[in-house]
Amino acid sequence: MTIPANLKYTKDHEWVRIDGEEAEFGVTDHAQEAIGDVVFVELPEVGQRVTAGESFAVIESSKAASDVYAPVSGEIIAINEALEDAPQLINEDPYGKGWIARIREVGDEHQELMDAETYGVFLQE
């Protein structure tokens, strides 16, 4: 179970990578393990505004469909279109090729998210 030190985490097992004015979202290694083999990802649209804590994508596995919640607010500037043909990227590389969306005008909610150490403790509980 990997938890990269340079990311922030939500209690719903999303990660966010803050990159200046922009941010990238995805789901954690723990999340992809719990969801199982991903078979379909319903992606948001570029230009859509997302609000922290609200569902912006859906991940389907053979077990269930799971909402993905935005870790921070902002406007979507890019989505990972590779997931349309290769949803398994979320299982294979959740923090890299399995990213879901990029946003700009990042809200300041990320101050309240967990760092890697806190998320690790949260998972233990």
Binding site: D37, V39, F40, A64
Partner: protein, 493 residues
Amino acid sequence: MNTMASTGLQHEEPLLFEYQHTDADSISLPGVDDALPVSLQAHCRQQAAGIPGLAEPESVRHFVRLSQWNHGIESGFYPLGSCTMKYNPRVNEQLVRLPGLAHVHPDQPDDTVQGLLALLHGLQQALGEIVGLPHVTLQPAAGAHGELTGMMLIRAALDARGESHRRTVLIPDSAHGTNPASASLCGMRCVELKSGSDGRLDLDALDAALDGDVAALMLTNPNTAGVFERNIADICARVHAAGGFVYGDGANLNALIGKARPGDMGIDCLHINVHKTFSTPHGGGGPGGGPVAVNDALAPFLPVPRIIREGETYRLQHTDGQSIGHVLGSIGQVGVLLRAWAYILAFGREKLHLIAEDAVLNANYVLARLQDAYDVPFPGLCKHECLLTDHRQEKQGIKTLDIAKRLIDMGFHPMTVYFPLIVHGAMLIEPTETESKATLDAFCDAMLEIAAACEAGDTAALHEAPVLPFRQRLDETTAARKPVLTWPQTEQA
């Protein structure tokens, strides 16, 4: 494909399209003598239909062999949680095939179907009495259709009192997936309520969500974790105080029959999966029946036609000012409804409670035998089904799916897996009231054998299972990622 492969007299069977020859016809059509009328020529098929040509005996054998691969409640134990796979008494099958019941037409005049209407009216009254909600429609064709009907009734009642802004439906995260689907289809906005640590609805989460836009709470009791919502009266009072209705999903009614009534708990509207609770063969996906029972507040909005009794005669009432109208093209799935009435009458008012007692006893017997070998996420007595997880086996690399597949090799239909979603690696076991102790023991022995093999690190058979059926472990992931839904007709002209 070798079409002759067999194990003993159990036959391997190819798809219809995989039969080698395509020229045999089991039906000879006479053809058309003259030129087609102009009006039909546009509809002429341009290419061959691509229907495989099989002789009649081949067709019959194909479908009979496939049926022999099937597993049903009549071939073995079928503890599929949340599905209530109880035995379907043979006498009910005889009853619904009586010519006077099987051969009537839905549009026959009322005075020619008095017997049938009398039976359906009797069922309607009995269902109302069993659930404590006196006004019943038999029309909905199955459970989710009942949910949609119930949502439409609640919406109509809110509109009638000038509260059309109330469009939020609160749904616990343990709910059946049909609940949010039905509410959404009815134009409602769904809000998910997180369950508490005991698997029950969290009252604080409910209070936080109860605002002036709430139309209803949709609740299953006992819930999908197999536990009774012991705060149900308080829950209903809070929703009512906030101006909303409480919709009861009757999927788990088998735990309550003759013991407790949803209407007495404060629930306003409930659907009853009669094919489950009162026995109809339903493993193949239907037909079902989802009668909806309501209290006085919702009664004016019930669908038409309604079955009305006037003295010793019965008639269908086809219009009523506030009714939401028809939800089905007939008065209901008559065959399913008649089986339900027969099941109820076989017990009678005095003995009906035995259904719930035996169903709950059987589930708790299974729980008691398995609780030292498997993780029990919500300890204590369960209702009609018990919930386990793979938490202990996971340490040996064995997951719920492996356990379920191994059960197939051991002669049992698996339990429901990975539902409810509120626990990791769920295994939901519902034995129903119609299983003997010997059957329950055989199933528990198999489950304990699997747990013991895990404990001993002897897990090879679990990873490979099932090895005995014609089809071994299917690749569900590829089937979902790259579904092939049509037979490639490459050889067609």
